[in-house]
């Protein structure tokens, strides 16, 4: 256990000292929310409503993009070899990949919480009557994204391939899920396709929390995320083979 925490500490150190990742998880998300909010504020009666919409949707996009944090943490070129040196130690394979998932989750969650702490009072945006539920629901989503990134690394063995596939997939799912603009008025087929996108379920759950103060969707979404994370972690155990990295 001590070994695991040693590795976790190192991973967290690598993440918090990476300005590109910090920027990607804060500045990029901040810019997206602010700019999209400003630009579309003309479509709304109150400019605040544009920010309300894009804070939630872009936050979800940002949380899912946290998968790229995990791929970077695991197999970024400069730290790939020292990360894999751990294979030879008594720490074991589980420490190698699960510490990346946990470290990425903690890092992304911290960054996004800081972002909300800054933007909510600034933009007068609400997270619902009980913001704690909103913040709590973010945790399983962040963890799922981190697990996804680690899993893809175990599957594809390189950060580049994993990040490319993930960024494309996440962008597509977000477009289908109505993150950037609503697809509801674009025909029956698209509306139907949209309903299959997990991003849509996330949007529904988070909007229900902040606009209707309803936790009805939060519980199934959280549960679904946890199950999916477990499956992904099991997938890592299946696909991570030390001999592939020798």
């Amino acid at each position: 256990m001590r070994c695991f925490f040693t590795v976790l500490k190192m991973d967290l150190r690598n993440l918090f000292r990476n300005p590109v990742l910090i920027g990607y998880n804060t500045v990029f998300a901040l810019l997206l929310i602010l700019i999209m909010g400003f630009l579309t504020s003309g479509d709304y009666a109150s400019g605040k409503d544009a920010f309300q919409y894009y804070l939630v949707t872009m936050l979800i996009y940002g949380m899912l993009s946290g998968a790229m944090t995990a791929t970077n943490c695991f197999m970024e070129r400069d730290i790939r070899r020292p990360n894999l040196r751990i294979i030879f130690s008594p720490a074991g394979s589980f420490s190698v990949y699960f510490s990346k998932t946990l470290a990425s989750f903690l890092f992304d969650y911290t960054m996004h919480l800081l972002l909300l702490a800054l933007l909510c009072p600034l933009l007068h945006v609400t997270l619902g009557a009980q913001p704690l539920y909103f913040l709590l629901l973010m945790a399983p989503v962040e963890f799922t994204a981190a697990s996804l990134g680690t899993f893809f690394c175990c599957l594809l063995h390189t950060e580049e391939a994993a990040s490319t596939l993930l960024s494309m997939t996440i962008s597509l799912l977000c477009i289908l899920g109505g993150t950037f603009f609503s697809l509801n008025g674009m025909g029956h087929i698209l509306s139907m396709l949209s309903s299959f996108s997990p991003v849509k379920w996330l949007n529904d759950a988070f909007f229900a929390l902040c606009c209707d103060n309803s936790q009805a969707l939060a519980v199934p979404v959280a549960f679904g995320c946890l199950i999916f994370s477990l499956l992904l972690t099991a997938g890592c155990a299946l696909f991570f083979k030390t001999e592939d990295y020798l």
């Binding site: 040693t6 190192m10 690598n14 400069d78 730290i79 040196r85 030879f88 008594p90 074991g92 020798l246």
Partner: protein, 312 residues
């Protein structure tokens, strides 16, 4: 001497290619056992199986008379691995790297600090402890790479070609350090394709080629057969003028090989026949471009065993 590691009938295949063919050997406590062989001989594959990073197809590996699979974590605790490629966090300092890797072997608190100090002294990097590894020279990185493996004072240190790509000064430093590790009680398993390193530090040698161990013994015992021999390498302008029988008619000449425009003549050391060999060239008007003399070496041993040079 006590057997620390016993390897029996080890085999490994990658797809249909056999990379290890039923090899068996022991590692004795306190020795420096060198694996010598060309690239592709199977040295690194053997190392990776011993470190449990790669699964074997057949065979047994016992550590202190117990199968390593039965107590893998405890076995790994006793190992120190120096990988062939540098595996260091370049953005961190030498001390931070050592702290991290030593912690993985259960060290913490005061013991960890002592281990880090010991490792920095060993690597000669005490004055650069707080500098980022990215600012180090290649030789310094190699030394740190080794230091990260021995900080926790393992029983068995496995080094996979640790001196690749460094200057002679750093190499000598590393070889001296390895002798020092042995004097401190560690057992070293060392792979290389540089015979000079093997001759400098080994207590015992295993020569590998094409996945098999083709010779085993000490430096002296391996060269015994050929110690009374010397080899003349004579480069000529145009080969084929002198019939080979002429050389064999000279007393002491054991074998003659032609490698492109170079004649490799093996002769007994006890017989002074160089003048007669040279005179043949004069008789047949064969112009000598260059000539060197070689005494018995591991290179010669390998050549005798395989018909190829170590670096072919």
């Amino acid at each position: 001497m006590e057997k620390l590691l016993e390897v029996t009938h080890l085999s490994k295949k990658f797809k249909d290619t056999s990379v290890l063919n039923d090899i068996s050997f022991d590692v004795l406590r306190g020795e420096i056992l060198c694996f010598l062989g060309p690239n592709g001989a199977g040295k690194s594959t053997t190392i990776h199986i011993l470190t449990a990073a790669l699964k074997k197809d057949e065979g047994n590996i016992l550590f202190r008379q117990k199968p390593i699979t039965q107590h893998l974590s405890a076995y790994k605790q006793c190992l120190g691995i120096v990988p062939q490629e540098l595996a260091l966090y370049e953005e961190l300092s030498a001390e931070q790297n050592l702290r991290f890797f030593a912690s993985l072997y259960g060290l913490h608190g005061k013991k960890l600090s002592q281990a880090v100090t010991y490792a920095l002294d060993f690597a000669g990097l005490s004055d650069r402890a707080h500098d980022k590894v990215g600012t180090f020279s290649g030789g310094m990185k190699r030394r740190l790479n080794i230091a990260c493996a021995i900080a926790h004072r393992p029983e068995l240190v496995i080094m996979d070609e640790p001196t690749v790509g460094i200057d002679p000064q750093s190499r000598n430093y590393i070889l001296d350090s390895i002798r020092k590790l042995r004097s401190e009680g560690m057992t070293i398993l060392y792979t290389t394709h540089y015979m000079e390193e093997v001759e400098a530090i080994s207590t015992r040698i295993l020569i590998m080629d094409h996945g098999s161990i083709i010779a085993e013994g000490t430096n002296e015992s391996l060269k015994e057969d050929i110690e009374n021999e010397k080899r003349y390498l004579i480069e000529v302008e145009e080969n084929g003028k002198i019939p080979l029988e002429e050389f064999y008619s000279i007393e002491g000449v054991k074998s003659v090989e032609i490698i492109e425009n170079t004649l490799s003549i093996t002769s007994l050391k006890s017989v002074e026949n160089l003048d007669r060999i040279i005179s043949l060239f004069s008789v047949y008007h064969e112009k000598i471009k260059n000539m060197t003399t070689e005494n018995a070496s591991l290179e010669t041993v390998f050549l005798k065993l395989t018909g190829r040079k170590l670096r072919d």
